[in-house]
């Protein structure tokens, strides 16, 4: 029963973060929100008895993807500032 409540809370957080990621005008907030969606998805995978997938999602989905997004965002913003 407690797992069910945790799953519902996780689902609500993920949906809110996903809507923020698409809706928000600020790119930094959107990137962080997409990372948050991935991070809570990895907790959901643990509830779904998939520890392998949870490990992968936590390290790749929320770690490296966000890092790469920020590298590219930084580069583009600096190109813009040079103009």
């Amino acid at each position: 029963m407690i797992y069910l409540i945790i799953a519902i809370v996780l689902g609500i957080i993920m949906l809110v973060a996903a809507v923020i990621a698409v809706y928000n005008k600020d790119l930094k907030t959107a990137i962080i929100a997409a990372g948050v969606t991935s991070l809570f998805a990895s907790v959901l995978y643990v509830l779904l008895a998939a520890p392998d997938v949870a490990l992968t999602e936590a390290s790749i989905g929320s770690g490296l993807t966000t890092l790469i997004f920020f590298y590219v965002y930084n580069k583009i913003r600096r190109n813009n500032a040079q103009e």
């Binding site: 520890p51 392998d52 949870a54 490990l55 992968t56 390290s59 790749i60 770690g63 490296l64 890092l67 790469i68 590298y71 590219v72 930084n74 580069k75 600096r78």
Partner: protein, 234 residues
């Protein structure tokens, strides 16, 4: 207006395509079909305690080979693109801040620990949750910490590409050895099976997972490193 209604139409189409999955979903009691075979005979046929590893490495080894190929292609194309755009930025003065001493010291302590964790994850891939992909990602994040904490330093791409090439070639070579010595491509019976549940068991699965881990780790490190080097400009 037309555009909005078209978007709505596409969304409705996707929803209609996936909705039957949701509507006709019924809870299962036990595994069926091919998964049942994997669950019941995986222990004798492959000998890995982690059945996901058994499926990834042996039963569906071709998927893994294709996946590694796609990752290699993506990494190569990224390297090519960033190299082409790097040529007209001659001055390599970094625009990053110098990092503080606390960060440098802490990263010196943490990077070996994270690397050790990554190696632990992919060596124990056939016993505990984890494996080559997860271990590779952890290793890549250790190198990402190194790159982030020393922004002024230049990192060479040579070692990364050598490790990547050697592990990729060895992976295919072990797969071909399976054809020669055992039942087929990527068969893990080319080594002794060992006792179930110990570190040296499951035939060639630990070796294949170590190679996959090195390959994935070096490819992801290569992607991050290329993006970091492209941040420098005059």
């Amino acid at each position: 207006m037309l555009r909005n209604s078209l978007i709505l139409l596409v969304l409705l189409g996707f929803a209609a395509a996936i909705f039957p999955l949701l509507h006709s979903y019924e809870a299962k009691d036990a595994l069926t079909g091919v998964a049942e075979h994997y669950a019941n005979y995986g222990k004798e046929e492959v000998g890995a305690a982690n059945l996901v590893s058994a499926v990834v490495v042996t039963y569906r080894g071709f998927d893994t080979l294709g996946e590694v190929t796609i990752l290699f292609l993506a990494s190569a194309v990224i390297g090519l693109f960033l190299k082409a755009s790097e040529t007209y930025t001659k001055d390599t003065r970094s625009v990053f801040f110098k990092s503080t001493e606390i960060l440098v010291t802490a990263s010196r302590l943490l990077v070996p620990m994270i690397l050790l964790l990554g190696v632990y994850i992919f060596i124990n891939g056939h016993l505990t949750p984890g494996g080559g992909f997860q271990g590779g990602a952890v290793i890549a994040s250790a190198f990402a910490l190194l790159l982030l904490s020393r922004p002024q330093k230049h990192f060479s791409h040579k070692v990364i590409s050598v490790v990547e090439s050697i592990s990729g070639i060895s992976f295919v070579f072990i797969g071909l050895l399976g054809v020669l010595l055992a039942g087929g491509f990527l068969d893990n019976h080319i080594l002794a099976m060992g006792k179930f549940g110990t570190l040296l068991s499951a035939g060639a699965i630990p070796i294949i997972y170590i190679l996959i881990g090195l390959k994935v780790g070096s490819e992801l490190t290569g992607i991050v490193r290329n993006l970091k080097e492209s941040q420098k400009e005059g």
